[in-house]
Structure formats: structure tokens, C-alpha cells
């Protein structure tokens, strides 16, 4: 069982290294010729994210992986999501607005949460008409991330695909002082469409 996981992980690792070589090559070409190939790089990164996500999902659904929690700044996380998604969404006429009101470093699994949020923004991008908002804030006990769009909302709030199941698992694995994280989906947010909200203790 673990041997299989090791084989998969090592394959994913090698592939991501190869993808990095491709992305670096493109970035170099862009600079040399002053052209914009960011969509090609976006496709490469999306492919790598998809691979990692598959491995993570396998981990989480099969043998209950453990988190790698490090102190993280929500602001940096939001900036990275913006770097990953803003330009790509703009090509489809969608504006990604980021609002971060968190000042304290927060203990969380930076890479998994970044992936969950990237995924949520990508999903929103498929349904939004013109706007997506990523909003981070905290109260005394919880750090909140909310992704909402101005689309028609979730058709069915009860059924959740693999992506959302994994997101929920990841949220719940975040535990602190006896509390655990959660994922809430709803409709009719401030932009009128779907609302995806993570709460991490």
C-alpha cells in the first residue's frame, strides 16, 4: 500500500521537475523576446497543481494524511492566489478582487490551503459573470477565507464532488485548542452568487 503511494509520489515529483524546466524555459523566452506567454505557464502550473491535488486526494481519502503546519501570513497566501489566477481570469473578462484584513501569522498548512483556495477560485471562474472576490479576515478564534462570485450559485448545495470533499477534509484536519476547521457552501453572497467559506481555528 505504502509502496504504491511512494511510486506515485516519486512519479509526480519527477513530472513536476520536468514541468518546472518547461516553465523556466518559457519564462526565459518571454524575457528574451519581450512577449507574454503567461497562458502557457498557467497551463503548466495548472497541470502540476492537478497532479499534486490528485496525490493529496489519494492520501487523504485512503490513509488520512497529516498536515504540515507552519506559521503563515494570510496576506501572502492571498497575494500568491492573485499571482496564480488574476491574469488568467482577466482574459475571460473576470476580475479577481482580493481583500485581506489579517495581521497575525496563523498556523496552517500553507501549501494545502493555497491549493484549496486556488481550486475554489478556479471553480468560481467557471461560473462567474465578471467578478470573484477572495476575502480573508479573522476573529479571536478563527481565520476565515471566503471566495464568492457573481454567477448563478451552486445548483445543489448537498452534493459535493471530490474537490470539495478534499477541501472539507483538509479544513477539518486543521485543529487547534480542541476546535477543528470547517467548510461552508452557500448561495446569494454579497456578489449574488456562490459562496465558499473556510474557517480555520
Amino acid at each position: 500500500m505504502h509502496q504504491l503511494l511512494d511510486v506515485l509520489a516519486s512519479g509526480v515529483h519527477d513530472t513536476k521537475n520536468q514541468l518546472f524546466c518547461a516553465e523556466a524555459h518559457i519564462a526565459e523566452t518571454e524575457k528574451k523576446h519581450g512577449i507574454d506567454l503567461s497562458e502557457a505557464r498557467y497551463a503548466i502550473e495548472a497541470a502540476a497543481q492537478r497532479l499534486s491535488r490528485t496525490l493529496t486526494a489519494y492520501h487523504l481519502l485512503r490513509d488520512g494524511a497529516s498536515l504540515a503546519v507552519v506559521p503563515t501570513l494570510a496576506e501572502d497566501l492571498c497575494s500568491e492566489i492573485a499571482i496564480d489566477q488574476q491574469k488568467h481570469l482577466a482574459r475571460a473578462g473576470i476580475v479577481l478582487e482580493v481583500k485581506c484584513e489579517v495581521r497575525d501569522a496563523w498556523p496552517l498548512d500553507r501549501d494545502l490551503i493555497a491549493d484549496v483556495l486556488n481550486n475554489a477560485v478556479q471553480n468560481a471562474g467557471r461560473h462567474a459573470r465578471s467578478k470573484i472576490m477572495l476575502h480573508a479576515w479573522n476573529d479571536d478564534t478563527c481565520l476565515h477565507f471566503r471566495v464568492e462570485d457573481d454567477g448563478s450559485g451552486f445548483a445543489d448545495l448537498a452534493t459535493r464532488g471530490t474537490g470539495l470533499l478534499v477541501a472539507e477534509r483538509i479544513a477539518r484536519l486543521h485543529q487547534r485548542q480542541g476546535k477543528h476547521g470547517s467548510l461552508t457552501l452557500s448561495n446569494n453572497g454579497t456578489l449574488g452568487g456562490a459562496v465558499f467559506e473556510l474557517c480555520l481555528p
Partner: protein, 448 residues
């Protein structure tokens, strides 16, 4: 816009794969880097960093040849080759590296998972540069070992608005400074303050280490067992556990724990030194000999193999009854090294030589006798001196060392070794008598 002018920074890219190295160079140049140097592996990296410390190191996690970027980082810190001002960024395609960073105490400034865009690297480098700027005055005081001043800066940081972004880093630095300054109780408190906020494995391990320093061994063991159980990939925790086990006199367990992790990190020679110590205490002289011989032959970092290593190796040869090898190790030590030894090292050297080759060692050993009788000595040295003294029937010198050993903090650790040596010289009864005296003295001490 970049907050730092990266064209003025010296980059070093460490990666064993030529393609990946080229890619990292290309990305670094895209963010504005002008001077990018390469190191294809561990040794080259150390050589280059030692000779001309770069401003920014981009290091791949997998370096080939059984080495990892994490090991490079640890080695650089061990030999103080990495100033706090240098940015060390780990680059990895391996998602499992996150698990390492989340557990261990010694972390890079940041890590980034491949593939990544130049913009993302830029963001992360800017962020690290901002952090280094925030802690700049603290780093200066810490380097000068002005611990009080360093702590005062941290206290100020804690209360500041800008400090909120670095609240965990500040707490961690506070604990480490207390540890470095020898304030072990304050270090414990600082680590516990972190745990109140979040159960970081490295903070729990910090509690265990500070308890170990306070000689509160049972509590220390309880704490470290939690860490080892929760994060088996955190190898430093295994080292700490072994260290505590040895202090408790549980040498077999210490050796078992170290043997398991040393197999997974075959090029970690600090861990091998610890394994040799545990094996020797456990009476497994062959493993101790083999392991130390490996350290002395293969820890290739200049200056890494110390006088202590060579004395330790000689000691294990003596323990195994291989006196010729012991003599060879001792006589092969450079004359300048032997001349410049401090009294403690001279004590071990002459004692071991007296054991290996009485004709060559005894005159020097007896010459040192008056000093060895009166001077406080480290545990290892006392054992060597006691061993050599037993051999030449100098009971006064031997018993004086034993009395000190049995009343010291490391009595449990060396009890088995000392008893065995007395038994070898048919002096078990005398050993028991010394123990009785030490116990009486302790009771007397507690009553008054």
C-alpha cells in the same frame, strides 16, 4: 515591483541535475539576478559558501549521493557558515518536504514547490527580505552574544504592530536565545508559550531539550516520546530522545533509536557520533568502533573531525582490546595538535596511550597526575583517567574520579561503564563502597 534590487545580489544555485540547475538560473535571471553561480553538489556548495558567502541561495532538496538540501543547511549552521542575513530558499518538487519543514527546528528561510513562476519566487524572496530587515538589529546582537539586548529587541518586536506578522518567529527566537544563553528554565517557558498557541513538534522537542538540560529526565522523556510518536520523520527528535535515554542509563534503547534513524541518513556524521557514543555505553564496542572509524574517514568537512573524535575512536579500540589500533590512532595525531591540547584532552590522550602502550604513555600520564587529581574534568576524561589509573594500580587517582562521576549529573549515564571497569580489576567491593559514600554524602547534603 520588487522591493529589493536583485541585480546587485549574488545568487548561488545548488542542484545536482544540470537541467534543473539551468532552469533555476533562468528563473533567477528573470527576477533580475545578474550574478548567478552554480554548485552541482553538497561539497561544492560548502566550498563556495565558505569562500564567498552569497546573498541568496536557491537549493534543491535532493542533492544526490545520499545528501539533501536540509542536511546542507544543517551543516552550514553547524559550522557557522550561514549568516542570518543570507537568504536560504529550499526548492523542491517533493511535497513531502512540507512535512520536514513543519516538524524540524532548523528550517530554511522559506521553501518553494516546483513548478513556480518568476513572480512567485519574487514574492517569496521579497517576503524573506522584509523579515530579515525586521529582525536585522536582533541578528546583530545575537551574533555578538549580547543575549540580554537581543531579548530586549524581541520583547519590543512582540508588542509592535509590524511584529504581528512574525509572532511565531519572535517566540521561537526568544526560546533559542534563552537556550543559547543557558537560561534553560526560561527556554522551557518560552517553548511552552508557543505550544499554548499551537502544537508545533519542534516546540515540544524544545521543551524536552530544556528539561533534559535541567536534568528532569523522566519529564523530558515523556515530552520527547510524544514528538517521536507524532512525527516519526523528525529525525532530530530521535537524537534528542537518544540523548535523554543515555542520561537515564537506557543505553540499549538509545542505540536502537539512533541505529534506525542513522540508516535513513547515512551521511549525517553528527548522528553517527551520537550512535557511537550510545553503542559504546551499551557495551557494543564493535558498532562504536565501526561507526567512529566511518566518521573519522568520511566526515570530509574541513575541521569536522575533531581531537575528541580521534580520542573517542582510540577509546573504542581500547574497549575492544585492540591496543595496536588504539596506539596507531593516538600516535598518528599531529604533534601540533597534541602540543596544543588543553588539560582535559591531554588527560584523555595520555590515559588512553598509557592503556594502549604503557611504555609510551605512562610517563606523560604520571606526570599529569597532580593536575588530574585536583582539576574538574569532563565525564569522558574522568573515565579515561580512572581506567588508566586502575590499570597501574593507582587506586587513589581512580577512586577520586569515580567518586566525582558517581556524584555528578551523569552518574546514571556512566554507571554501567564504571562498574564494569572496577569488576575487570576485581574491585567490585571498592566500587560499592564508593557508591555508599556518595549516597551518604548526598543524604548528609540534603539534611543540612
Amino acid at each position: 515591483m520588487a522591493e529589493v534590487d536583485y541585480s546587485k545580489k549574488r545568487f548561488l544555485v545548488v542542484d545536482d541535475q544540470p537541467m534543473a540547475r539551468e532552469s533555476l538560473r533562468a528563473i533567477a535571471q528573470t527576477v533580475g539576478a545578474f550574478a548567478v553561480d552554480f554548485a552541482p553538489g553538497y561539497q561544492d556548495a560548502i566550498f563556495k559558501i565558505r569562500n564567498n558567502t552569497p546573498d541568496i541561495i536557491l537549493c534543491d532538496y535532493m542533492l544526490g549521493d545520499g545528501r539533501s538540501g536540509q542536511q546542507l543547511l544543517e551543516e552550514l549552521r553547524r559550522f557557522d557558515l550561514l549568516p542570518d542575513e543570507t537568504i536560504f530558499m529550499m526548492v523542491t518538487g517533493e511535497q513531502s518536504y512540507e512535512q520536514v519543514v513543519a516538524a524540524v527546528e532548523l528550517v530554511p528561510d522559506d521553501y518553494i514547490i516546483k513548478p513556480f513562476s518568476p513572480d512567485k519566487l519574487l514574492l517569496r524572496l521579497d517576503r524573506v527580505a522584509a523579515k530579515k530587515k525586521f529582525f536585522a538589529s536582533f541578528y546583530r546582537e545575537k551574533r555578538k552574544q549580547e543575549y540580554e539586548k537581543a531579548l530586549a529587541i524581541l520583547a519590543e518586536n512582540k508588542g509592535s504592530e509590524a511584529g504581528r506578522a512574525y509572532r511565531f518567529e519572535t517566540l521561537r527566537q526568544e526560546a533559542e536565545v534563552h537556550m543559547a544563553a543557558g537560561n534553560v528554565e526560561q527556554a522551557e517557558t518560552a517553548y511552552r508559550n508557543i505550544l499554548e498557541k499551537y502544537e508545533f513538534p519542534w516546540a515540544r522537542a524544545g521543551v524536552a531539550k530544556s528539561l533534559r538540560q535541567q536534568n528532569r529526565l523522566t519529564e523530558a522523556r515523556e515530552e520527547i516520546e510524544k514528538v517521536v510518536a507524532g512525527t516519526p520523520h523528525y529525525f532530530d527528535a530521535a537524537d534528542i530522545k537518544a540523548n535523554i535515554c543515555m542520561a537515564q542509563g537506557e543505553h540499549e534503547e538509545a542505540q536502537k533509536v539512533l541505529d534506525a534513524v542513522a540508516k535513513k541518513t547515512p551521511r549525517n556524521y553528527q548522528r553517527k557520533r551520537l550512535l557511537a557514543e550510545a553503542a559504546e555505553l551499551n557495551g557494543d564496542v564493535e558498532t562504536a568502533r565501526k561507526t567512529l572509524a566511518d566518521v573519522v574517514a568520511n566526515d570530509t568537512m574541513p575541521g569536522a573531525v575533531s581531537i575528541e573524535d580521534q580520542l573517542n575512536l582510540a577509546r573504542t579500540h581500547v574497549g575492544a582490546g585492540d591496543l595496536i589500533s588504539a596506539e596507531k590512532v593516538l600516535l598518528l595525531m599531529r604533534e601540533s595538535e597534541v602540543m596544543n591540547m588543553q588539560l582535559a584532552q591531554q588527560g584523555s590522550f595520555s590515559a588512553l596511550l598509557a592503556l594502549a602502550s604503557p611504555a609510551k604513555g605512562k610517563p606523560k600520564f604520571t606526570g599529569l597526575r597532580p593536575a588530574l587529581l585536583e582539576t574538574p574534568l569532563p565525564t569522558n576524561v574522568r573515565i579515561d583517567v580512572m581506567h588508566a589509573a586502575l590499570n597501574i594500580n593507582d587506586n587513589e587517582l581512580a577512586d577520586r574520579q569515580t567518586k566525582q562521576l558517581m556524584s555528578g549529573d551523569e552518574a546514571k549515564k556512566v554507571f554501567g561503564t564504571v562498574r564494569k571497569l572496577y569488576a575487570l580489576h576485581s574491585r567490585e567491593n571498592d566500587f560499592r563502597e564508593i557508591q555508599r559514600q556518595v549516597a551518604l554524602q548526598r543524604i548528609h547534603h540534603e539534611e543540612t
